[in-house]
Symmetry: C2
Subunit: 304 residues, 2 copies
């Protein structure tokens, strides 16, 4: 498939032979409901709503498109989360999306050992796809919201998820930069840089699929070929990164907030690692973010 | 004095009754030499160059302005660093500025216990002043380059230095946001948030001078009043931050690199904590950054 460079190209590149079904948990807020309606109108999904039945019926009473809408009620956000998770376990939902429920509550249900959505060895981690006016490709990055400080094994999972997500947006061999404030491996002061060296070696022998992984390098070296040249950095990733792996949540979050506030970045995001993709926007995220996040989850399901 | 909102207003707001003297260490590169010439032409400084005498003489042979140029030679960048530090110790230089010498080398000379520039209890820390088109004030932040992970005592020093620097650019009572990925104090997972609580309490009782200090809060809450309102955050700092205190170097550096690359941010920066301000730009920094960094150091010396 063609490489997708802008979030608004996501929709036209969905392979919708079989529509995925999204279970929307406690969809009480207008922006979630609008995102669901847009997705129905665009013929992208079937929708099951769980909770807030009256509000849903009123808001989604008319939509065009051939998808189905199933309205299920639930008494509390917690009950709605449990029910949606069980729908996903039974194969009746391919994507979970949160409405006005706390992220913790939905993740807690997904993480339940007996009734949840985790396969041992997997890890829940948040991946954002940024659409940045000044960058000529989409830029994936992780983790700005869920995993505070990944272990080596968790970083390996992140590399696998990024590689998989990249393929679904048409990037066959993503260039993944492992971010640090410098390009030096300094095991004593920055143990993460030793992890990076190890991960780069394992990536080179193919452990994470079809990807190029390099680092440590800073954000500018990763995304600006000129800066990389000035520094004399030779790397197949430097200057052309498709994805950034951040050392921990503080740096990822600072990047994310700065870019949305001052860099005119638009985003879509999902939580990977459960048996189905989870769409867990923040309260502050707008309709557009919610809609594109749902589209991204669809891409992960339906694209090769 | 008036508040300075743009870096290019720095120059006209310098109180130049007495010109400070800058000692430039190993000024071999054109951008450093051009920054020095501009500063001489603008009548901002006296200049002592240390090392690269032939190159300096050739490049700075003609300048307008009433400042003096003294050319001293040195055999190596290390010797030049030591000599410049001793000039500062003797009160003959008010500012040190590095040319084509490694930052480590100059900082090493400044940190020397016997012959250096440190007063016990002080700490070297890097403060950037960002000029961001989409923000209506200058934004100071620390530390993106020198101090990897500040202790509580080091953060106290950062708050004092920021407050002092703010005053020199006309911000009488800076609003300082202590950055974290969320607004919750979570001592167990993020010990830094407990430090923040303590620092906010000490700031409120006046320990760091005339400033408002609050956190934890994320970058967007700190700099966007709308985002702060949506989140229901009540804080005298939220939405109007003059300065960001980052939890560690990774997040500061990610913010800095993202903003210069994608947010069209211009910067000036100095290292505070030695007995004189140190101007230590990176190799990759352009002439403009070097010139404004020198102007910032001048402001710290000559403004109230």
């Amino acid at each position: 498939m063609a490489t997708i460079n802008k979030l608004n190209h996501l929709i036209s590149h969905l392979n919708l032979a079989a529509k995925p079904t999204v279970a929307a948990v406690w969809p009480q807020d207008t922006s979630t409901l609008n995102a669901l309606r847009r997705a129905l109108n665009k013929d992208m999904v079937n929708v099951i709503t769980v909770g807030c039945a009256e509000r849903v019926t009123k808001h989604l009473d008319r939509f065009i498109g051939s998808g189905s809408l199933t309205v299920v009620d639930a008494d509390t956000p917690e009950a709605a989360s449990d029910l949606a998770v069980s729908l996903a376990r039974q194969g009746e939902a391919d994507i979970l999306m949160k409405g006005l429920v706390k992220t913790d509550v939905l993740l807690h249900a997904a993480l339940n050992k007996e009734h949840g959505l985790m396969t041992p060895g997997n890890v829940l981690t948040h991946i954002t796809v940024g659409d940045i006016p000044q960058y000529d490709k989409l830029l994936m990055f992780t983790d700005v919201a869920v995993l505070p400080c990944p272990t080596l094994a968790q970083r390996e999972a992140q590399l696998r998820y990024i590689t998989r997500l990249a393929r679904s947006i048409g990037v066959a061999t993503p260039a993944i930069a492992m971010v640090h404030c410098s390009e030096k491996v300094d095991e004593r002061h920055f143990p993460v840089t030793a992890d990076y060296r190890e991960l780069a070696a394992r990536a080179a022998r193919g452990d994470y699929g079809d990807c190029m992984v390099d680092g440590p390098m800073d954000v500018k070296t990763a995304c600006d070929a000129h800066a990389a040249r000035v520094k004399g950095i030779k790397s197949p990733v430097a200057g052309i990164a498709d994805a950034l792996l951040f050392p921990e949540i503080e740096s990822g979050n600072a990047f994310y907030k700065a870019m949305t506030l001052f860099g005119e970045m638009r985003t879509a995001a999902i939580v990977c690692g459960a048996n189905v993709p989870l769409v867990v926007p923040s309260r502050g995220d707008d309709f557009r973010n919610k809609f594109y996040s749902l589209a991204l989850a669809c891409a992960l399901i339906v694209n090769p």
